[in-house]
């Protein structure tokens, strides 16, 4: 394989990985964000405690989260086929990624919102805020830096899952690593893809944490 071919291969893989990761993160938040809010709001100490909703939702989320990603991905192949028409390639991989990550995102959102000081919420309520205003005008903005850290962790986790999906021809860098490194014993290519994955994770991590710090208006004592 020429260097040019190698670069093209890796470039293609990188783009697919980014495509899967970003779309999956976005869709996971689309589903996980409202679920995380619902978990927080229906909590015993939440704005609208509701034991039944909270326990049911919590149970489903825990169940999905305790299934290892590859097993989950295989188990829902029929569902993936139904949605995308195929179970291989990067677009198909988005389905199991979202199913696995949305519950994870919901828990992250819940834990960030829970960190908001109860006294601050009390103050907002004393000013006549409705539950909706407390949630959207106080809790979410107050939790912004923590939500941003959560989003960074979620994105890198989803990227890791997407690489695992290489085992089932999920596309992206993971598939390249499996095809060349595992099946054809081409350790060189495998190492390149792993290095590339590490670099991408580092960049996402640094950028995310930097943004979280920028967003945070609290000044930490030096």
């Amino acid at each position: 394989m020429t260097t040019l071919e190698l670069l093209r291969l890796l470039g293609q893989g990188l783009l697919e990985t980014l495509y899967m990761t970003l779309i999956s993160t976005f869709l996971s938040y689309l589903i996980g964000l409202p679920l995380g809010m619902l978990l927080t709001v229906t909590d015993k100490k939440g704005l609208r405690p509701n034991r039944a909703v909270n326990l049911t939702l919590g149970f489903v989320i825990n169940m999905l989260r305790s299934v290892p990603f590859l097993i989950l991905a295989v188990a829902i192949i029929p569902f993936t086929r139904l949605v995308v028409g195929t179970s291989i390639g990067s677009t198909a991989t988005i389905v199991p990624l979202v199913v696995a990550a949305a519950p994870y995102v919901a828990r992250m959102i819940e834990s960030s919102l829970r960190e908001v000081d109860a006294g601050v919420i009390e103050a907002a309520r004393s000013m006549g805020s409705s539950d909706r205003q407390v949630l959207f005008k106080v809790m979410v903005p107050e939790a912004k830096p923590s939500l941003m850290v959560g989003a960074t962790i979620a994105t890198t986790t989803i990227l890791g899952y997407s690489a695992m999906a290489g085992f089932m021809a999920g596309g992206g860098l993971g598939t390249i690593a499996i095809n060349y490194g595992y099946h054809r014993y081409n350790t060189g290519i495998m190492l390149y893809t792993v290095a590339l994955l590490i670099i991408v994770v580092q960049i996402i991590q640094e950028a995310g944490l930097h943004l979280a710090r920028r967003l945070d208006r609290r000044r930490r004592a030096e």
Binding site: A123, A124, M127, G128, K137, R217, R218, R219
Partner: protein
Amino acid sequence: MNTQDNIILKVENLSKVFAVKPEPIEALMDINLEIYAGEIFGIIGLSGAGKSTLIRCLNLLEKPTSGRVFFKGRDLSALPKSELLKLRQSMGMIFQSFNLFQQRSAIENICYPLEIARVSREQRLSRARKLLELVGLPDRETATPSELSGGQQQRVAIARALATSPSVLLCDEATSALDPSTTDSILALLKKINRELGVTIVLITHEMSVVERICDRVAVIDRSRIVEVGSVTEIFVRPQSAIARQLVFPGGELVERLTGDTALRIVFDGESSFEPVLANMVLACQAPVNILSADSKNIEGRAYGQMLIQLPDDPAAQRRIHEYLKSRNITFTEEIWHDNA
């Protein structure tokens, strides 16, 4: 004047039980209170007595288990939720830990209640600037809470609580997290808000010195019940309950019945006001006195007239009282008093 028509907040047979395990907690038992418009009303008690629960019942942040709260004659528990939310805009609240929005600057904090009240952006900003001026922080508009000292944060919290021009300000241990000199300045600010804006203040504290400095009347709460309500002077000079005595004389010295025959006639010539003089004297000298007779008028906070007080037997305490009165330039004469009753 304090009359029935002047009651701004009224608490009627209020009880609060927290249904927790293993045993429910009766945090408030049969509370009755009347708070008058324009006064600074203190509620004092030890930690765990139920003070915070009580003040949170006043704006229904805590829902009473039974009993009712009236604000300007309206039964709060009968209000639909939307009305209650709107009504909270006429009752500001401040807290021991300030509770500012950490991700908003000082001015944005003050703007929040105005956003809730749907005031236009321009009006919000101009109102917020006026309030920052009022609380003495005109140059800290863009500072975030983490850049402000405790005292400054409480000033911003006060400005925020006043944004919607409430008629009542509820203060839950507002100075308990502050050092003594900052406490003084915050109390002075509260007093100014009460006098200049006519805001009724309900203030909760575990410190008698806070009550002494700014309250007009005070209720003493002990183990979920109100045990005593009266003017600050009454509580200081003649505390009825064990807990009030403990709060007034934390040293444990106390009000055994006075038997001495030494009395002082104090003359009030309008230079000082009656309540702080007596209360401060009792506190500063750590000595109980009895008011034997008083013929004084309180005109705009100034006292005119005379008062006869019975002193404790302890000569050291008597000397302290003499010296205290002298140091305050208060005219007095010593008399022998015989209990003819």
